[in-house]
Symmetry: C2
Subunit: 726 residues, 2 copies
């Protein structure tokens, strides 16, 4: 039975990859649109690949160095729990994560123009293309994750054996390298991608929209391609790496906790040789893959239909299938009744914990939507406060972000305490796995958003008819909701994953309590709580510097390229509607087409993000090592508790404040009502809202999401060094 599972797990990973290739091939075959669209698409794709190439070049050095350190210190260490092969899993984890990012970006930059093209004829077709593009990313992440984990687990269990708890812990300890590798790539992808996208966005907005007065995504704006590249780099590859890490981390962490169950009556011996609790996370992840694949087939919408409903249907079906399958797995692998340290549990407790995790993730997602969605009370409040200017808009947005931490945390606490009540510490782990098992379809829905966003931008740049942009906007509006939910989900799952890794760390470091009353732990707690602030400051300052470079470049182009300058003059004088231009004006305007030097802007964003991602990355990796070796395992535990608690708050605060500002601005663009008066784009309140949105950009797309990784990465690093701290 055990060997069947050990084989089935990588096979399910391969299954996901097969479906991924099918979907990917399907997208590639579609009509990429007219020549201009293809040119734009190529610009975006080239820019995205240029970024990935530059990023991976730097990361390769990092990966080789860390792998060498890992391998050497494990080889030199005399303790039983370590082995140099951890560096192998580290490298494979890094490669899998990088590969998932590459595949996802590759298809996303194909799906964008094809979505635009499909939107010329039908909403349903466009949805299909965008969603299939997202599904490639989603299935790639879970497929590579489970394949990598499954193969390595198979390999190491043959090498080190699985007869005793010590052996299994050693297997898992070496396996943590995989999670560490994934985390490292994720951090740089999130931070680098986040800096990239916002440097481009802020630069494009400030000079383009605010100074030169040209619309977003206008081909005259030299930063517009970089902006669209950024959506792919940040929202597709970044989000993918983030969830890849949570996915892998929660599975490994729960397996470590499950290793403690090997000798417990009911688990010991039997069909699963005591490994029921160890293998369950892998099995339900596999079930999640099957459920996700089936779910993707139900995402269909007719013309005039509701894309949101289509996405919801797919997700719901996947969730139901997943729960049914999981109930069966729990029934088979967990004894009906068992006791851990004198406390009795039933098998259904494990299932309840999984349901709590799944429900908690969705709950946090929907709360996020409430605080950031167009037209909701909190966002309307920001709209109202925009009447008295940028300052009150900002105060309102900051307050909404801070206030929005309350309910998600209450949901998270219920999930933590509930799953612990039902199934002990293992319950928290399995809840995290449950939350993440449907990552396949969840991420498909997430990645769909930026593809639609890109599609809209391409429609604008290619000067397609209005109804195309309207269709992509309709898809994009849904994408914003799913993005909000996805962000909430990513934060919630990161928090639970960090807790699981935390518990695994304690198991591996062989400490049983982390006493906050111990002043060294208190100091660790303070230091840890400080890091999300420092880290956010770094990434925001990085965006500021990079955006400044971009602003200078765009201004330079507007000044130095005569055709651009002339066209801007026409636009300033005659407005944006080219159909009202005189023949001479139109000629001037058309002469500027393609004169903007997009590549230079892409290069600036790339260089800046690579340069700026190094420092925060090193802090995240080095801090736990220093604290662990200088202050001991318990102080390191305090550090993790601090970084997790404060990190989750800062992530929610920043993501939601940014999301709320964004939608407050959008409400003005659609005509927002305040005290009976309607305010439009270009009104003073709208200008105030644009300031809020610009501040929110690095919040929601750089510093906020990076924190998810920070807390997971620090937990993984601690877990990796735990055997040395014994």
């Amino acid at each position: 039975m055990v060997s069947t599972i050990l084989l089935a797990v990588p096979v399910l990973g391969i299954l996901a990859l097969i479906f991924m290739f099918i979907k990917s091939a399907g997208v590639s075959k579609l009509d990429p649109g007219n020549e201009l669209m293809q040119r734009i698409g190529k610009n975006i794709a080239d820019g995205a690949m240029a970024f990935l190439k530059a990023e991976y070049k730097v990361l390769a050095i990092f990966v080789v160095c860390v792998a060498a350190i890992l391998g050497l210190s494990a080889a030199l260490d005399s303790s039983e729990g370590t082995h140099w092969m951890i560096s192998v899993s580290f490298i494979i984890g890094a490669i899998c994560s990088a590969l998932a990012g590459f595949i996802g970006m590759n298809v996303a930059t194909k799906a964008n123009i094809r979505t635009t093209q499909a939107a010329r004829t039908s909403l349903g077709k466009a949805l299909g293309v965008a969603f299939d593009g997202g599904a490639v990313m989603g299935l790639g992440v879970v497929g590579l994750g489970l394949l990598g984990l499954g193969l390595l687990f198979f390999l190491f269990s043959n090498q080190f054996g699985m007869g005793t708890e010590e052996e299994v812990l050693k297997v898992l300890s070496v396996l943590t390298g995989f999670s560490f590798g994934a985390s490292s790539i994720a951090l740089f992808a999130r931070v680098g991608g986040g800096i990239y996208t916002k440097a481009a966005d802020v630069g494009a907005d400030l000079v383009g929209k605010v100074e030169a007065g040209i619309p977003e995504d206008h081909p005259l704006n030299p930063a517009t391609i970089a902006d669209n590249v950024g959506d792919n780099v940040g929202d597709v590859a970044g989000m993918g790496a983030d969830l890849f890490e949570s996915y892998v981390g929660s599975i490994i962490g729960t397996m470590v906790i499950g290793a403690g169950y090997m000798t417990i009556t009911g688990f010991a011996g039997g069909e699963f040789s005591g490994l029921g609790a160890v293998l369950l996370p892998l099995v339900i992840a596999g079930i999640g893959i099957v459920a996700s694949i089936i779910g993707t087939f139900f995402v269909r919408v007719k013309e005039g239909g509701d894309p949101q409903k289509a996405l919801n249907t797919g997700e719901l079906i996947a969730a139901v299938l997943f729960l049914a399958g999981t109930a069966g797995a729990v029934y088979t692998m967990i004894p009906a009744e068992y006791a851990v340290e004198g406390i009795g549990y039933t098998r259904w407790g494990v299932l309840y914990a999984i349901i709590l995790g799944l429900a908690g993730g969705l709950g946090i997602g929907y709360i996020t939507e409430y605080y950031t969605g167009t037209g909701t009370k909190p966002v309307q409040g920001i709209v109202d406060q925009s009447l008295t200017g940028a300052a009150t808009n900002l105060i309102a947005g900051l307050a909404v972000g801070m206030r929005s931490t309350a309910y998600p945390i209450i949901v998270l606490c219920i999930a933590i305490m509930g799953s612990y009540y039902f199934a002990g510490l293992y319950g928290i782990g399995i809840a995290a796995v449950g939350m993440l098992a449907n990552t396949g379809i969840q991420l498909a829905i997430d990645a769909y958003g930026p593809i639609c966003d890109n599609a809209g931008g391409i429609a604008e740049m290619a000067g397609l008819p209005k109804e195309v942009r309207e269709r992509t906007d309709q898809l994009d509006a849904v994408g914003n909701t799913t993005a909000a939910i996805g962000k909430g989900f990513a934060i919630g799952s990161a928090a639970l994953t960090a807790l699981v890794l935390f518990a695994a760390f304690m198991t591996t470091a062989q400490i049983t309590t982390i006493d906050i009353a111990n002043p060294y732990v208190t100091a660790g707690l303070f230091l840890g709580a400080m890091l999300p602030f420092l880290f956010s400051a770094f990434s925001m300052e990085a965006v500021g510097r990079a955006a400044n470079d971009m602003i200078q470049e765009v201004r330079r182009q507007f000044n130095d390229i005569p055709e651009l300058k002339a066209a801007l003059e026409v636009m300033r004088r005659e407005g944006h509607d080219t159909s009202k231009y005189s023949a001479a004006d139109l000629a001037t305007f058309n002469a500027a087409d393609g004169k903007a030097d997009y590549e230079k802007c892409v290069e600036i964003s790339t260089q800046a993000s690579i340069r700026e991602m190094v420092m925060p990355g090193l802090i995240a990796v080095i801090t736990p090592v220093v604290v662990g070796f200088a202050g001991g395992a318990e102080m390191l535990g305090g550090l993790l508790a601090g970084v997790t608690s404060a990190g989750v708050m800062m992530a929610i605060f920043q993501s939601n404040a940014g999301g709320a500002w964004d939608n407050a601005k959008k409400m003005f663009e659609e005509g927002a009502s305040v005290q009976g008066t309607i305010y439009h784009k270009g009104s003073e309140p709208h200008k105030a809202a644009v300031v809020g949105d610009t501040v929110g950009d690095p919040f929601k797309d750089t510093s906020g999401p990076s924190l998810n990784i920070l807390l997971k990465l620090m937990a993984v690093v601690s877990l990796v060094i735990a055997p040395f701290l014994v």
Copy 2:
């Protein structure tokens, strides 16, 4: 010896009060200036007193209710550790805190016009008046604090005895009511005062400066009196209540830890009947009072001298005297060598801990100054970023605030770990007492700031010659530095005080570990870390609402009062320099004098702040009670750890971001240089900086400082309910 100390402590409190009365009488006797100045001064004083009256009316209800609940539940509880007299100490604590606020505000609103008047002749005289006004507040706080504590301790120790650890703990448990009472008043004073001052400030700025284009503190602005009242309400009374709470809380908390030393060899029996460690905090607080009083006499400056140096001299002398006296006290009261739970300590370890506390407080203060001071690198960075508009100014300020958490936390961690290393848990407590023992002179220097600020406003409103405003500005500039240092100091001391109360809570609740690995504790930690965000959101939204009321009112007056409208018209047309007005314009301008309805604005701020302070106050008091009784003492411990760690970060972040924005704006007003170009008041970058400053206002004066109290109050509430959780 014990009875001598028990008598000496309240006597030293009375000594502080005597000096306070002497200084207060000295200030009152001075020349209050011309009739107009007196009228302005009376308006401010009346407004301040109206606020205090309205606030205390609400607080009286709160105090009576809580006292009844406290008394009843203690009377009904059968456990040994509680007694109904805790309600008596609660009421006395509340009265002492309220009285300290009243006295401080009373003299501050007298000192302001007298400082202006003194500034007409000499810088040195003006400094003297402002500092004496501040000293009244400082001495009032420490005097009432030590007198109240000393008398109640004397009373309760007679009632319950001091022979055993249990008896002493019971005395101290009843005494915690005093700290609780002080905390409650402090919370409402900080939150209410913070909302008041910023509603007035934001309202005055947005409509007055931005919309109508009139300078700050101009008599035509109806909100200007409310703005000046706010400085007193927030910065004098609020800061006083804050430090009163830290002062009292750290002393009581350390006494509780010291009670555990009664039976330790070296302490047991002897001259101090085993009470050496219990009484030491009271004794060094008394030494601090004497040192502070002497220090105040050294704050003197000649014309052309440096006010900063004068303040530093006073503080330095007080610190040296304090350390000398404290060394003596430690030598007398602590055995040369002793062991706690098998770990050996020396008496000098206690002194080192005190020095670490004192140095840590100053260190955090100076770091704060670095991140917020005019012309420093971080603030220059914000100035630079203002060139590209409000959005980049805001991103830069937020980043500076977040980044500024790093060094203070490192200093705090060194102080925590160092004092623990030198003297165990008691070391952390005594470090907090050491940090706060010189509160007398520290608070004098803090309160000096808003007095000078007021004095400048009065000089402006009364149309005094330029050199007067220049002198008050010189004093005010120093005041801004001291305010920054004072805020850092308040946060640092709040953190240490909360830790001390935390340790005392554990002693009283009879728990020895708070294990973060316990999921209930983890949930508590998350909930606790969320509260500072929720609390900040509440207070910022409150400021938003209150400022909106104010804005509406000021706009209404500008529209409805014809004289104001006409004068604004003149000013808009001819500029601010009245000497250039034509005779007709001057007549129109003068006709508007005194026509603004200041009282209405004062009333709006008062009503709004009273209305808005209730909700956050209740959250702070009720949450620990609910968590403690529903989740148990250990989960409550997690809650406290969360609220303390995240609260300290949010307090530093918000205070420093606000301070940095404020000074970035000031740099433009004095002519800021960016890339070789000088930008002045009214330039686009200056306008961007004004937006940042407005956002920073509630950060630094409402939500940030309120968090100090939140974390202390929640710790005190936990300490109060601890006996019921056993």
